[in-house]
């Protein structure tokens, strides 16, 4: 029987997507630069008072991360859809959900992880204290994979549609509100001296839920869109 083990499939697809991303580095960098620019524009818009900036920082970084992750969603399935590889992937004699999970993980490593690494530097622009920076990293580490997962559903639903980019944001952004609330809330909590644990554990719970359901839902959405 021709069959690939589940782990074999995951690592094969992740490696494939990472190689493809490395050969198209410009796309990856665009998202990251977008993130940096959006965050850097806020002080210019609201004024340089450090007190206000420090207060705004968590929200600004999180909203920018949300927008940047929307920007990269188009790439998750559409290139594979256009050249027919997505069709072949649906014929792989293995669970499509597992394959989708691998694609989501690869997408996060390429577009989510760089944001997490970049965020502390941007936090310094807003004079965030060191402790808050650590919490910011932790919250982004838990939260950005959820954004990729919810985004995957939207990307799969809007596959091949005209104006898919704007549409996907309209569908996905409202669903991402809990991530934004708990993610930014965790950083604010450490600044105002209350407990961070509850926010981070709620984010973790959301992550587990997303991990369980979204690959399956995305696979279903892909089947609908490929028909």
């Amino acid at each position: 029987m021709n069959k690939l083990s589940l782990l074999g499939l995951l690592s094969l697809v992740i490696r494939r997507d990472l190689v493809l991303a490395m050969r198209r580095r410009a796309d990856v960098l665009t998202t990251l630069i977008f993130f940096v620019i959006v965050v850097s524009l806020f002080p210019l818009g609201v004024g340089p008072e450090m007190d206000m900036l420090r207060k705004m920082a968590p929200g600004v970084v999180w909203v920018a991360a949300l927008l940047a992750s929307m920007l990269s969603l188009g790439r998750m399935f559409s290139a594979d859809y256009l050249d027919g590889t997505l069709e072949q992937m649906m014929l792989v004699p293995q669970s499509l959900s597992a394959l989708v999970l691998a694609k989501i993980l690869a997408h996060w490593m390429v577009s989510g992880l760089p944001l997490v690494i970049m965020a502390p530097v941007l936090g310094l622009q807003f004079d965030m204290p060191a402790q808050a920076l650590w919490v910011l990293i932790a919250a982004l580490l838990l939260g950005t994979p959820i954004l990729s997962m919810i985004g995957a559903v939207g990307a799969a639903l809007t596959l091949g549609l005209r104006g898919g980019g704007a549409l996907v944001s309209l569908l996905v952004l409202p669903l991402c509100i809990p991530v934004l609330v708990f993610g930014a809330g965790a950083v604010e909590a450490i600044v105002s001296g209350t407990s961070v644990g509850s926010h981070l554990s709620l984010l973790g719970a959301l992550l587990v839920m997303a991990l369980v359901f979204t690959p399956w839902v995305t696979a279903l959405a892909l089947r609908i869109s490929m028909e």
Partner: protein, 204 residues
């Protein structure tokens, strides 16, 4: 092996064909014919399980393919209009990945041998984006050589191929049928396989 009974397909609200009945057993070659828009591609995509049939059933070894799922996919290869190869990767990498996904254990030597057989000697490690349309099609067709699935579903396999490659394709199909394979395909070009009676299926 493959049995189709009372199959009907629709695209949107438009009925493409209905009451389609045929079966395919080891060593059979079936050519699907019909004008543009008669539903040839839709038929092949339905066989792959991408599209849900409006009515009717598709059975593989007596079981509905929807219930079989992965077990059916392990025994078929589909080659669509699109080549399903990545421009950024070279031919070798492309085939290594697609064979890996299909679950075939192949090493680089086998892949290179297959590519050479398809007339791509010296092109193995060039990025696919520098290859011509015909060469890309050849890379896609190499997937057939690397797979040991009995059922081939080919949608217009001969597009962009030159005379030499068409001859090669006929040879490959002939070999596959001798090994108890099955081929169902669509084409607008003549495809004659020596020693095998082609069956026709006309969609109107």
């Amino acid at each position: 092996m493959l049995e189709i009974s009372n199959l009907a397909c629709s695209r949107g609200d438009h009925l493409l064909f209905s009451d389609l009945n045929f079966s395919l057993s080891a060593g059979d070659l079936l050519q699907v014919q019909g004008a543009n828009g008669s539903g040839k591609t839709s038929l092949l995509r339905t066989l792959c399980g991408f599209m849900m049939p409006a009515t009717g059933e598709i059975r593989w070894c007596g079981q509905n393919i929807r219930e079989l799922g992965d077990a059916f996919y392990a025994e078929m290869v589909y080659l669509g209009h699109l080549n399903a190869i990545k421009d950024e990767l070279n031919a070798l990498e492309n085939l290594r990945i697609s064979a890996g996904l299909a679950g075939c254990k192949v090493d680089d030597k086998q892949v290179i041998a297959a590519l050479r057989r398809m007339g791509l000697r010296g092109r193995e490690t060039l990025p696919v984006k520098v290859l011509s349309q015909g060469q890309r099609r050849r890379v896609a067709l190499t997937r057939l050589l690397l797979s040991n699935a009995p059922l081939w579903i080919l949608d217009e396999p001969l597009t962009a191929l030159d005379v030499g490659a068409v001859g090669l394709m006929q040879e490959l199909i002939g070999e596959h049928l001798l090994n108890n394979g099955m081929v169902i395909y669509t084409t607008h070009q003549p495809l004659e396989v020596a020693g095998v009676a082609t069956r026709w299926l006309a969609l109107s």
